[in-house]
Symmetry: C2
Subunit: 555 residues, 2 copies
């Protein structure tokens, strides 16, 4: 492809090159389909043939009572039951393999399925447990889903790039290895969008993934498949990554929990796109999508108790601290109702107001946060992504000449876009980041709050391939304040959440996003989720607070 | 000034502009001289009128027995004696004010002296102690010297740039404030070279600083004055900063202790050159120059017990851990005899061999480190400094049109020099850094060592304005493994350390540095110091180990 000032031109050469990759894509898809075992399949007649459905309850029509029981448990409780001998690893695995297969049939959440390997692993774990009467670790027998782009020895890892469809990993990502060493069972690698840079799901290999709550809508991204499978209870928890909202958008849009930890606590190498380059204006992090705060904590404990800093010098030796669960009266929260750039839509405002009311009633200190510097800092974040004039991303797209999908085009043009930055500008970006980081901390101190509650996007899950504005999540990526996304229990209701037709948008971004929510019926059933932010590197306090806050809001 | 490919051309405009600054420089120098109080002065006849002298013992000829006793104590012991009431803060301050004044007269180590303010502060501290019978903190009454470039409210802060000679700080650097809050007494700000980027001392405001052990030689830099004053015992300890060796070169050249902590533990804002830009390929850190390992630890404890991360979001919440002092048999050390780029000169090799022998005799595990990747990584480090094509430094030099001194010219041309880098190249630099970081950690694990002992420069302190190669220190800046520099107790001896005239240099850098050591008599008495490196963010273990290792070597 060639670049002009405005974006991307398709090159005849690329079209020709891409043709050579089409058989490879077909082969890849075929392998994916071939690995869907009949034993675990949903009958075809239960699979909706059009969009607009809530598919979350469909697997229950087929699953046994015991399978439902197993897959409904939190990972921490499931681990206890395996460790006590109540469930075998194989029994647990089969239930999850079934539910995961159905999740994929209903949402297209898998990039790769390897049930056979998972079953063998579960059998081995049972064997060990039988012989030693001990678990191999705190995740013994826990089925865990993995976003595709982490290297996995012996498996293709492409990161959503067609050009990497022949790339077989020679080693396994350290974070993944830690989960394995703690006893996790792997059997599915999940979808992500092209370039891993949409809050959505489309790629040229496996296409769109659907939101389980309403298949009209995106599950979010870039950990798209993780959002869908976690909501479908097709894994006990999953591993995502986040440089602009990629854990939090799918968690929020799919109504599950997601943690974006502070940077440099969780090891992350190797992964695709890999790195002989380090972009550190905005740092990618790995983290869990799960169904409870306790399971987010379990993930962090497993990771940090392995002392990853002993072999990866980019990881800070910050062990996971045990902190007490706060009482509601000990909690101090500022709420952002509007970031000053894109005002949230009616369902999100309802979620925020509902939450504020519940929290106040419970005795939580609640104050309002007046947004500042958001536009500049989000722009700096976008600049950070594209500071190399997209050289890295283009070189990977060029490998196959694959078509650049809609939201990739948008993403490549945000911030400095194809112009890129000079090193001076790049360093100014980082300077703005650092001064704002401290300004935000100072404001938290002035307001005397430990947490900030806000939307994770200006609306609920949008229709496929429409989401643009990343500001509600990417603000925290560049500032590196950790976040938990959690479901409020509320869902979008066309009766309660009618579009605000009188609102006059303040800028183009807002106008674009606001127009997406012009017919509330399209969004029926979309989860209303919120994002809780803590102080940098105080992930422990954040996770505990999110647990209490969610309980209060849900009550 | 204008730039050509090779370096810097003097512009007639700059000469004209600089003329306007000459009266300002004169005024600044006059203020420095005016603040040298007669009470504390050394008689003129004790001040050597030529170079080549060891001036470290001169103050003792004039100081009283009690003044010598006070100024010879470690800061930790001095703090105890003040806290127990054995010494008053004023008594301590006067002894140090005297010795610091003499240090300045003998080495030209001060940028600014403010004895009056220090005395007032000491009086206030005594008053508080008298009233409350309590100290204000662990540094109550401890005289501490400060490198000039930290902002200090109400005082000029120029960072060695003539163009900033009118810049009056509006707030005080946080690290400095923490020392103050712990009871430190300030009275002197010390010299640094132009641009803060030489391992030497020259600037256009106060000129050269001299090495107290041999005034032929540089005290090192960029914390030049801190090296000199600490060796002269003109402060209990001092505050330096280091992005390429700026704490360690002066500590090593002047035969005192220096700690370059792992990054992001010590707060560092605001300082000059200040920052609406953040260069993070190689990160500057603040740290102490002192006369013992215990005092390095004292500094770190004071800083981290103040929890600087509560107000500066760039600081990692890593409290100072209490670790036990290792026995010699618990210590595992690799020694670098040659980094593969510039072979050390005879006195340094003697120091290394002497140390290895002593350590082995004491039961320390000692293995040899075979250097790898040094040339590439040091080049990446140089590139990091100049990635903006020197835009930042040039803009500050241009403010006054000041002449660019010899070693500034050299520094501006290292690495990518005036060409700068693209953001892609800059990110590749950081990528190489990260992979090498982990490769070094892996190698430490393979060798089963916790520490690396190596030179801090290829030789002892060189003659003024000759030092080029930063590799022995800057390698660790880019990798961010923490370092302690300490004196071995050995000094350069022309009889023992004859130049190796037969050695054939492997490259230009080596040829240049090797030629500097062609007449050992020039370096008589220069301290032979070494550098101990620990694992990233394990500063606690490093400081304790350095204490034990120095004791073994000195014994």
């Amino acid at each position: 492809m060639t670049i002009d000032g405005a974006g991307l031109k398709v090159d005849p050469q690329d079209i020709k090159l891409f043709e050579k990759f089409i058989p490879k894509i077909e082969k890849y898809r075929q392998a994916l389909n071939d690995n869907i075992l009949d034993d675990y399949k949903l009958p075809e007649d239960l699979i909706p043939q059009s969009l607009g459905f809530d598919v979350t309850k469909i697997p229950e029509k087929v699953l046994t009572k015991s399978e439902i029981e197993i897959t409904e448990l939190k990972a921490i409780d499931l681990a206890d039951k395996i460790a006590s001998g109540e469930y075998s690893s194989v029994e647990v695995f089969k239930a999850y393999a079934k539910r995961a297969t159905m999740a994929h049939q209903l949402t297209n959440c898998a990039m790769e399925i390897f049930i056979d390997e998972g079953l063998k692993r579960a059998e081995e774990l049972d064997e060990i447990f039988k012989k030693t009467n001990k678990t191999v670790g705190p995740l013994h027998g826990i089925p865990v889903s993995l976003k595709e782009h982490y290297d996995y020895k012996g498996k293709i890892t492409h990161g959503g790039y067609v050009g990497l469809i022949d790339n077989v990993s020679t080693e396994t990502n350290q974070c993944v290895q830690i989960l394995y060493d703690a006893g996790a069972v792997f059997y599915i690698r999940t979808t992500e969008p092209q370039m891993l840079m949409h809050l959505d799901s489309n790629n040229n290999i496996t296409g769109l993934t659907k939101n389980p709550h309403n298949t009209n809508l995106t599950p979010g991204g870039s950990s798209s498949g993780e959002g869908a499978i976690t909501a479908m209870k097709g894994s006990a928890f999953g591993l995502g990554s986040d440089i602009g909202g990629s854990i939090r958008a799918p968690a929020g849009f799919c109504g599950v929990w997601g943690l974006r930890p502070s940077q440099k606590r969780i090891p992350m190498f190797p992964m695709v796109p890999s790195g002989n380059k380090t972009q550190e204006n905005v740092v990618v992090v790995l983290g869990p999508l799960a169904r409870s705060a306790q399971d987010l904590e379990l993930f962090m404990k497993v990771q940090l108790s392995s002392k990853p800093w002993e072999t990866d010098a980019t990881v800070i030796p910050l062990p996971w601290r045990e902190v007490k669960t706060p009482t509601p009266k000990e909690l101090k929260v500022a709420i952002i109702y509007d970031d000053g750039v894109v005002k949230p839509t009616p369902p999100i405002i309802r979620g925020l107001k509902h939450s504020a009311k519940k929290l106040k009633q419970a005795g939580v200190k609640v104050v309002e946060w007046e947004s500042f510097n958001v536009k500049e800092v989000v722009e700096a974040c976008y600049n950070g992504y594209n500071a190399d004039g997209n050289a890295g991303q283009l070189s990977l797209l060029k490998l196959s000449g694959e078509p650049v999908v809609k939201l990739s085009k948008w993403q490549l043009n945000v911030g400095c876009g194809f112009d890129g930055q000079s090193v001076s500008e790049y360093q100014s970006n980082a300077g703005l980041r650092d001064s704002t980081r401290t300004a935000y901390l100072k404001k938290m101190n002035e307001l005397d709050v430990d947490f900030i509650l806000c939307p994770l996007y200006s609306s609920v899950a949008p229709v496929h391939e429409t989401v643009h504005y990343w500001g509600y999540t990417s603000l925290w990526n560049i500032l590196d304040f950790p976040n938990v996304v959690f479901p409020t229990g509320l869902k979008c209701d066309p009766e309660l959440d009618k579009p605000d037709t009188e609102y006059v948008p303040r800028n183009e971004d807002e106008e674009y996003e606001y127009k997406l929510y012009d017919d509330a019926t399209v969004f029926t059933g979309a989860p209303i989720s919120l994002q809780l932010t803590g102080k940098r590197w105080f992930d422990e306090e954040l996770v505990k607070a999110s647990q209490v806050i969610e309980e209060i809001i849900r009550a």
